[in-house]
């Protein structure tokens, strides 16, 4: 097994703020509502979560609505449009870690209220971690917004070659099930194009 060009970012709950609007939306509250979560939910989540991201920087060739990353060719008009003007991209995967799955499984038995709240908190948290990690990954390069399998016409089956390229089982503990859904459940894969003129370093 070799994953020599893969870079890793980890973070703790103190490293970034969870986006309040995102959280409100997941909790089915109004955007600007004042949300006070039960202390037990945030404490349990913070002690379970292990944020981790793996990524590579790779070239991408765009040709007739096919995005060719070398290790995978993706036919997708939406991704093609997203990557227009890019000749390189970051290919990334992010996760909260498996202990969050175990926490949610336990809460699903003990308290539906805490389960609902913690599930929403976890979803908002992984999105915020993506934003945080992308800021670090992007550094001084100009990038287009990140794009994930499942958006538009980008089929989720492409999570397989993407995760395989990142050795995601070994680096992040992410596996796919037969329906191409990820475990840990709060995991995200994404591609972030690097704009040509600013991408040259």
């Amino acid at each position: 097994m070799t994953y020599s060009d893969i870079k890793i970012i980890t973070a703790s709950p103190d490293d970034f703020e969870i986006n309040r609007n995102e959280l409100a939306q997941r909790l089915r509250c109004d955007r600007n509502s004042q949300i006070v979560l039960p202390e037990s939910c945030t404490a349990a989540f913070n002690s379970a979560v292990r944020y981790k991201c793996a990524y590579i920087r790779t070239s991408v060739e765009l040709n007739e609505y096919i995005c060719d990353f070398g290790f995978m060719k993706i036919p997708s008009r939406d991704l093609y449009r997203n990557l227009t003007g890019c000749s390189e991209a970051f290919v990334m995967a992010f996760t909260t870690g498996i202990a969050v799955d175990r926490l949610l499984a336990r809460l699903n038995i003990t308290s539906q209220a805490e389960h609902f709240i913690t599930d929403a908190l976890s979803s908002a948290a992984i999105e915020s971690f993506c934003d945080y990690a992308c800021r670090i990954i992007r550094e001084n390069t100009g990038c287009v917004p990140r794009f994930s399998p499942g958006y538009g016409d980008l089929d989720i089956t492409f999570q397989e070659p993407l995760l395989s390229r990142l050795s995601a089982r070994e680096t992040l503990g992410i596996t796919l099930n037969s329906a191409f859904l990820m475990t840990p459940v709060k995991s995200i894969t994404a591609i972030m194009g690097i704009k040509k003129q600013e991408g040259r370093t």
Partner: protein, 788 residues
């Protein structure tokens, strides 16, 4: 050539190093599977192996790491070619062994993933069958980061070949596998499965492995393998390199050898140079085969529990004897009740959970398998598999994630012949009851003799004395006043012989009033006699008092910290806490404070009729938060917290209403329809329905139409709530409604879920579309004409 398991007793052995690293330097393109070269470029694979043998290593790994039937249709060919290349390189060399290399499947096992344990075993078994007969000298199961998948691979190897089995796992910087196991948990499980060598590989450099090796030295009686990476990857001058070079690597390997590693090698980033330098520096270091560790350990998928001086509490609550609610749960297959008991026992301080699901009218093996898997998804405590049936023990031990307590064997020939082979194969710590064909001896000396006979017979199966914990049987003093003294004497004598002991403590007081008084005092006496484990009720305050005070008094609780934490905690039973004077049930519910709502309800019930507590306190509070939700002055999280507080209060009230007076007339069947696994919405409706006093028959998710109909008919419930989150499963909802209406047009179907709207609901023949959970409750109230 000597068998490798013999040679390792005499000297330190050496694995090869990285495969991908070297093959990439030979031109393997990034992203290309190295295993394809077994057929395409066999010469290069042979030269890779030769380079490592020339560097001095004894064992080479075949280039078959990623090969299995899920990834390669021609897996048999690739495996045979891979072993063939390795054999060619080994030919004519002394002490040169070929390890058939097995990597993970790439999928995660149930309950967290979707690969069943049996399927995983079958995938690995196909690999082993393909390799058997190709001439490998051993099987190496490596880079495993999940304990259960490791177990599946080991069983497949053991069941399909006679080769020695070596196992290495991937630990992260915190010293744990990706799914949580620490070295003690892995050593316990793997030694139970009788692997020939175990250890760690990949992910970490030798410096980090040095921080973990101490645990292997402390707990492992099996030779330890250490195959680290060449540190961590770094980009230098545009090139990716590992940050530890061969000189530094080999220096660390000296320390690892001195710390007890018996087999040294390398993983990612290491090359023949790394191995040659490691061999040169460690070849002449003194070598010692690991000594047998006299440690009794049961384990889960995260940690081990050592049975020794510090008393171990085995929670007894998942055992139907005398527990009507558990019996009902087992009969109806309601795992939620059982899982709640598991979680509550974990939270109150049990170290191990006994699981007994034996009821004459259910399929005990099937239920035990369901329970073990489900409990292991919500609790990380080791389990005690408790059954009188050998087939139930065998089926559960096979898929149990860890090394379980096995309850039990006794001194009869029938029992020993049935149970000992099972433990021999799957591992486990066996509870041995001192009973034989003549019954239970009436004196301590004879009980000890029965125990010794079981230990002797077990040794014939290779089961060690340390893996047997003897239960000299506590029998009630109400029928024999001497029985406590006999049992205590047996505990003492067994301890003197170095035999660990366990007792089902509460039996001692059977048939007597205020049983806990007798039980707790007996427990204290037994601890004083050296008892190691007690199967007991962790919800019993007096028992836990005894446990904590004993540990504090006997120097087992440094600084009395555990005792102080226990004694300072608020009462474990919320209903025993007095409600604060200025807090009402109404406000507790509105604020969503569950424990407080229970206390308030308990106080109110002292001078208020149960129905008044419901109608004058609980329902108005719920209505208040419900209306606030409808007016968008409160949000879903608050509504849910309030509903749970109301449900908890409602449960408290129900305790005061005789069972036959419980109103089951207001009921609803709830299900997430077939094909849909999203059940959050349905669960929210359930919580709210229950808080309003409806009886909810919750069928869970992915429920076929026939089951919905069967449940509705069985419970004579005409109101059915169906949920679907995905557009693809709305047809299943339509199908369910059609089936219900066809059977009886009086069935009323309420539907809800993210993809539904009124138009959709009308189209599929639903009677009502619930826009949200509160809306659903309002409809149910109108349906039963009870919106009072």
């Amino acid at each position: 050539m000597k068998k490798i398991t013999e040679l390792i007793k005499e000297k330190r052995l050496y694995f090869d190093g990285g495969t991908g690293t070297v093959l990439q330097s030979m031109g393997l393109p990034p992203g290309r599977s190295p295993e394809l070269w077994n057929l395409e470029q066999p010469g290069k694979i042979i030269s890779l192996h030769n380079a490592y043998f020339d560097a001095g290593c004894n064992i080479i790994k075949t280039n078959t790491f990623g090969v299995n039937r899920c990834k390669f249709a021609n897996y048999r060919e690739l495996i045979a070619a891979g072993i063939g290349c390795a054999k060619k390189a080994a030919q004519g060399r002394e002490e040169a062994y070929v390890a058939y290399d097995v990597g993970p499947t790439g999928r995660l096992l149930e309950p967290l993933g979707d690969l069943s344990f049996d399927e995983a075993v079958s995938i690995f078994a196909d690999n082993i069958k393909a390799a058997a007969g190709c001439g490998a000298d051993l099987v190496l199961i490596e880079t495993m980061n999940d304990s259960l998948e490791t177990k599946a691979a080991v069983l497949a190897a053991k069941e399909n070949c006679d080769l020695p089995v070596f196992v290495t796992n991937v630990y992260d910087a915190s010293g744990k596998l990706m799914t949580g196991a620490d070295p003690l948990a892995m050593i316990a499980m793997l030694e139970g499965l009788r692997v020939d060598a175990l250890g760690m590989n990949c992910s970490l450099g030798p410096d980090k492995m040095l921080e973990i090796i101490g645990q292997f030295r402390e707990y492992s009686s099996t030779p330890v393998i250490v195959n680290p990476n060449a540190g961590l990857p770094e980009v230098r001058d545009g090139r990716t390199v590992f940050n530890i070079d061969a000189d530094e690597f080999s220096d660390y390997m000296v320390s690892l050898a001195e710390s007890g590693a018996c087999i040294l090698g390398g993983c990612c980033g290491t090359t023949p140079e790394f191995i040659a330098k490691t061999i040169a520096k460690t070849r002449n270091l003194p070598y010692a085969y690991p000594e047998e560790k006299d440690i009794t350990v049961v384990s889960s998928y995260t940690h081990g529990v050592v049975i020794g001086k510090d008393p171990v509490l085995i929670g007894e609550r998942i055992n139907p004897t005398g527990k009507s609610k558990l019996k009902a749960a087992l009969r109806s297959g309601d795992l939620n009740y059982i899982l709640n008991e598991a979680i509550r026992q974990s939270e109150t301080g049990a170290h191990v959970l006994d699981v007994n699901v034996g009821l004459p009218e259910i399929d005990e093996t099937a239920m035990m398998l369901r329970c073990v898997s489900a409990i292991q998804s919500v609790s990380d405590l080791p389990l005690q598999i408790d059954s009188t049936k050998a087939e139930t023990l065998e089926a559960s031990l096979r898929m149990y994630n860890g090394k379980a307590f096995v309850n039990s064997v006794n001194g009869t020939e029938d029992s020993m012949n049935a149970v000992l082979p099972v433990v021999q194969k799957y591992g486990g710590v066996l509870i041995a009851l001192t009973i034989d064909e003549s019954g239970i001896p009436d004196n301590a000396a004879d009980r000890v003799r029965v125990a010794q006979r079981i230990i002797e017979r077990a040794s014939e199966y290779g089961i060690k004395k340390k893996d047997i914990v003897v239960d000299p049987l506590a029998l009630t003093i109400s029928s024999n006043p001497e029985s406590a003294a006999i049992t205590l004497e047996a505990v003492r004598r067994l301890g003197e012989l170095g035999i660990k002991t366990s007792l089902g403590i509460s039996n001692i007081s059977f048939g007597l009033p205020k049983r806990e008084l007798i039980t707790a005092t007996f427990y204290a006496n037994a601890l004083q006699c050296g008892l190691n484990c007690a199967i007991m009720n962790p919800f019993s305050e007096v028992m836990m008092n005894t446990y904590y005070t004993y540990r504090a008094l006997h120097g087992l609780d440094k600084g009395c910290t555990d005792y102080i934490a226990y004694a300072s905690a608020e009462g474990a039973e919320p209903e025993k806490k007095p409600a604060a004077d200025n807090v009402s049930l109404h406000s507790s519910i509105v604020k969503g404070l569950k424990d407080q709502a229970v206390s308030c309800a308990a106080s109110l019930l002292n001078d208020t009729q149960p129905l008044d507590v419901i109608n004058l306190h609980i329902v108005p509070a719920l209505n208040e938060i419900g209306e606030a939700f409808e007016k968008k002055k409160a949000y879903l999280p608050q509504l849910l917290m309030s509903a749970e507080a109301a449900s908890a209060a409602f449960e408290e009230v129900k305790k005061r209403i005789p069972a036959d007076k419980t109103d089951k007339s207001k009921a609803i069947v709830l299900a997430t329809v077939k094909g849909d696994i999203h059940d959050i919405g349905k669960n929210i409706v359930k919580v709210l329905m229950e808080s309003y006093g409806f009886t909810v028959y919750d069928l869970g998710r992915d429920v076929p139409p026939e089951r919905v109909l069967a449940c509705a008919l069985e419970n004579n419930c005409k109101l059915v709530g169906l949920s679907a989150l995905m557009t693809t499963t709305v047809p299943a909802m339509a199908e369910t409604i059609e089936l219900l209406k066809k059977h009886d047009p009086d069935f009323t179907a309420m539907v809800g879920g993210a993809v539904l709207n009124q138009e959709y609901a009308d189209m599929i023949g639903a009677d009502y579309y619930g826009a949200d959970a509160m809306d659903s409750v309002r409809f149910a109230q109108r349906y039963y004409g009870a919106a009072e």
